[in-house]
């Protein structure tokens, strides 16, 4: 038990360490650059170290319960709020994702030439602390609180370090995301009120609801609040307008952390809280999710193809890929939600990498305009290699985690006859994403350089990827390869957990067993393996 308590404290440390380092940086504008970097390496790196350690200690047999539970009083016990931390098979991979993207972001940001670097790093560290907290919270109140805690620095960073047009984009993003957060908060509070167990603890809510489900109308209404609230935060079609423009003007660090991790908050809320607690609500809204998610995949996919600006394209492509995660959750099965989880982790890594690399491209080309580049691979072959790899990951090439996410979701869709038809339109996305992804790669790196860019290329100012850019890129690519080659590092733990959260029978496999001759019916599993 002593071991367990120490590891629970680690969970707290992983949240507080970045925040504390951030506070120190905030106060000390007089730090030398080197000490500032040393400090922030500590702040950015510690959560990942703790995450890896906890992953090693993780006990999957506790499915249904939480590992590393820690419950601290907050002074709000009267309304059932504790700082209740812990990890399960679903939050563990996202916790690691946050740590990994956080470290990569930090490593890249601390070498960037941002003005008032200490402030920039401090805000990123706050964000990271909030993210670690979101995924480590069992208490729904803190789950939400940490999200807001991470969201506010995003707005500030866009407002301060954003690119051209930041004002409009920041306001639009703020309105949208605040609205989304507000709706989901309403939903969460409604859930709290309706359950009447005077607790925000997810475990207690779950226990209560498993014995006594809410009435269908209540479920439908609360699920609607959560679906559209979280949906706005994840850029569900047609509430996506904030995303592309917002990411286009956001400073790289903020874009990496937000698109990579913070945006997954909404999906995480849906699959960890909303869908398991409100099953008939989820069933009721199922057709809505499907149609809107197909809007994400096909309509936004086509819109992505029309983009001429690299960052806008990445922003739209990220909106598009969220559609798959929604479809996975809509399946409401272990397979579907598992696929969505894989997709979330892999997409987080790949989109963060792409945002980072697109800035690397910008530093060399001084433009995001896809039509005025070309031939960059001659001068920057390593950058080209990373960019191709990241693009391939995001368009679902096997070997990277994204493939397993998409594929599992397709499998989940085909599981029942009712959702079978969705596979074909959803799979069109793999062609669409290949088209815009490869078009971008080819426009930036291959072929002959456009005239304006040619001079720059030949002037010798264009260098290949520097070590400080390579290090975070390698980290993210490493994560993508790891999830692509050994998807079980996520799926084994998650599978157990999901079996508890989604105990619904929906397999079509029985159909085949009845078709096969009776004597064969018992044998299929043996023949298969």
């Amino acid at each position: 038990m002593g071991n367990l308590e120490a590891s629970s404290l680690c969970l707290l440390v992983s949240i507080l360490a970045p925040i504390l380092v951030g506070l120190v940086l905030l106060c000390g504008s007089r730090f030398s650059v080197n000490s500032m970097r040393a400090l922030s390496v500590f702040g950015f790196g510690l959560p990942l170290m703790i995450g890896i350690m906890l992953y090693g200690l993780f006990d999957p047999l506790l499915a249904g319960e939480y590992n590393f539970e820690l419950r601290l009083p907050t002074g709000l016990e009267s309304i059932g709020i504790y700082l209740h931390l812990g990890l399960n098979g679903i939050s563990m991979p996202l916790f690691l994702l946050a740590g990994m993207v956080g470290l990569a972001t930090g490593l890249y940001a601390m070498n960037s030439k941002a003005e008032r670097l200490h402030l920039y790093l401090a805000l990123l560290l706050f964000m990271l602390g909030g993210l670690m907290g979101t995924f480590a919270s069992i208490d729904v109140f803190f789950f939400y609180f940490f999200h807001e805690f991470a969201l506010i620095p995003t707005f500030l960073m866009i407002g301060i370090w954003g690119g051209a047009g930041r004002r409009v984009a920041a306001i639009e993003m703020t309105i949208y995301l605040t609205l989304g957060a507000l709706l989901s908060l309403l939903g969460l509070i409604a859930l709290y009120v309706q359950c009447g167990v005077d607790s925000f603890s997810l475990l207690e809510l779950r226990n209560y609801l498993s014995s006594q489900a809410l009435s269908e109308t209540v479920q439908n209404n609360i699920f609607a609040l959560l679906l559209f609230g979280f949906g706005i935060l994840v850029s569900l079609f047609p509430f996506h307008s904030w995303a592309p423009k917002g990411y286009a003007v956001a400073p790289t660090g903020a874009a990496m952390l937000h698109a990579g991790v913070l945006k997954k908050f909404g999906l995480y809320g849906l699959l960890q809280i909303a869908a398991p607690l409100l099953p008939s609500g989820a069933e009721h809204w199922f057709p809505w999710i499907v149609w809107l998610a197909l809007g994400n995949i096909i309509l936004i996919g086509l819109v992505t193809m029309a983009q001429k600006d690299l960052k806008m394209m990445l922003g739209y492509s990220s909106v598009m890929h969220m559609g798959y995660a929604f479809l996975g959750i809509a399946c409401f099965s272990v397979v579907g939600v598992g696929g969505a989880l894989l997709m979330m982790v892999a997409h987080g890594l790949s989109v963060a990498l792409l945002f980072m690399l697109s800035t690397c491209v910008y530093h060399r080309s001084q433009t995001f305009d896809l039509s005025s580049m070309g031939g960059l691979a001659t001068k920057a072959p390593v950058l080209a290699g990373f960019f191709v790899a990241a693009t391939m990951a995001s368009i679902g090439l096997p070997g990277f985690g994204n493939f397993w996410g998409e594929f599992t979701i397709f499998v989940a869709l085909a599981e029942t006859d009712m959702t079978k038809w969705i596979v074909a339109p959803a799979a069109i996305g793999i062609v669409i994403s290949a088209i815009y992804g490869l078009r971008a790669v080819s426009n930036i790196f291959f072929g002959q350089a456009k005239d304006s860019f040619k001079e720059r290329l030949e002037s010798g100012q264009v260098t290949d990827l520097q070590p400080f850019e390579k290090l975070p890129a390698c980290l993210l690519i490493g994560g993508l390869l790891l999830t692509g080659i050994f998807p079980r590092i996520i799926s084994d733990d998650a599978n157990r957990e999901l079996a508890v959260l989604y105990p619904y029978e929906q397999s079509n496999l029985t159909a085949i067993e009845s078709v096969i001759l009776p004597a064969e019916a018992d044998a299929p599993k043996e023949v298969a393996h």
Binding site: G338, P381, L397, A414, S442, I512, E520
Partner: protein, 616 residues
Amino acid sequence: MTPTQSLLVVIFAPLLSAVIISFFCRQRHGLAAVISVTAAGAILAFSLLAILPKGTDVVTASSAWLHFGDFEVNKGFFFDDVAKTMLIMVAFVGFLIHVFSLGYMADDPARGRYFGGLSIFMFSMLGIVLADNLIMIFVFWELVGFSSYMLIGHYFNSDEAAAASKKAFIVNRIGDLGFLVGIVYAYWHFGTTNLSGMGGYVASNPDLVKVSIAALLMCGFIGKSAQFPLHVWLPDAMAGPTPVSALIHAATMVAAGVYFLIRIEFLFPQEVLTLITWLGASVAVYAGFCAYGQNDIKKILAYSTLSQLGYMSAAFGLGFPGVALFHLITHAFFKALLFLGAGSVIHGCHHEQNIFKMGGLFKKMPITAITFLIGTLALCGVYGLSGFFSKDAILIAGGLGNAPIFYLLTLGAFMTAGYMGRLFWIAFLGQPNSDCASHAKESPPTMLVPLIVLAVLSVAGGWMGYWPDFLGGLIKDNLDHLHQMDHYDAMHKKVLLFGSAAWIVGLLVSFFFYGAGAKEDRLEKRAAPIYGFLRSRLWFDEAYDFYVEKVQQRFALLLNFIDVFVIKGVLVRGSAGIVGLVGICSRSLHDGNLHSYVYWFLAGLILLWAVASGLL
């Protein structure tokens, strides 16, 4: 060493090589070449080791890859006689092409990347050969697509190569779309995608075969093997280095589509088989016509590959997967030979690829010329050479099964001899037509040895009697079955007559029409409309370009417009009241002073806390 261990070495050696090269040998080109060739050698050695244990037992081994609920993916080997035959071919041809590349790519400034790409390709291709389930096949299927993308785009500075690599990947993806949906449906239909598992189910209950699943899986084959209507990427793929064209776009990867069909032959109902037959036969003839309109030596060979793939799929569709596999193997030998021969010519002529700029190469490059001639004759199906046996079997199967297909394929054989004759007479005979040709030199031994070895195989590869017992089981079964069919003898004579007539007439007509070492295309001069028609390739590329540029892209732009102006502009701005209000409020807070932002933030936080804890 057990066969499973040997197979593990076979598949991981190239992966290891690719990893080492991409991390440590990007600048050390010589070392990269050595590592890659060593890996190819290891593949060959351990493949031999894996097939040598005699007996017909099938090696299987698998372990879990991913598991969610009812969905399980395994990674594993299914090493039966078909896989053995294919493995030896891939390992052997792959090794020779690696050796050839040592010479061909000697001056290339990016050899490291090239050899790394070859290793990734070998890894992915071997994965397809050995995989025991559809999902694993799909994984490696996509990976060969990626290696093909990477290697076609090797000369990425040229716009042509950049466009070709993109096109190859995207067109393949369209086929894979169907393939993917097919796998997903098959998974829930059979409860597994394991090849032997599905085979067992179908054997016990033939009703399980479904047209829809078979047709969807067929899409994957159409993309990878460049059949109608997704054939457009293959000729463009010739923008890659020539050894790549030989390995990927002639001998192995494009044939993987046919191999895949053979692996899942039991899933195909008659309707889909008939469709595949007609697709194959029509490509066989269509590609033959297209080849006449080409002047680039590699493009001619590319269309020839298309047409031969058509023969293979026709054989498959006629119900003789073994015969398709037979042609796949012999084709791999002579087509790799022809491409490498073309590579040798291109190398000798300083990267000249237009046959009308060549001429007289027989004297300058005798070994290349003789081996190329052997390859040409084998392709045309001259009696006794490898192509004769396999093509003969396909024609007999056609004659016995479907008369129109038989005539189409015979027409294809005639065309083959014609365009190959045209190529050979113009490029190798007569007088040099340009400086490059007159300064051509014979290639170095690293390039000639693979040519000679492949020439030997192109001659002898079809002599089934000399194949080891443990190879080609399916081929022998199918041939025996063919021999026992009614009217076999009569048909055999007919095919012998027609087939021989086809190559004799084809070669002679092309010789008389083009003559030796022509400087220009007489067809273009004499009959411009016909030539233009051949050159048009039936406007497939134009139609697709039109669709992409004028329909798809415009539709995307329209949607973008709607997205920006309707969804964002009207719907969102429609609630302008709220937006304006919040805007005014937030503007008063947006005083641009960072400290105040932070203070506001903290104040809000404290306020929230106070309200929640009941202090206020």
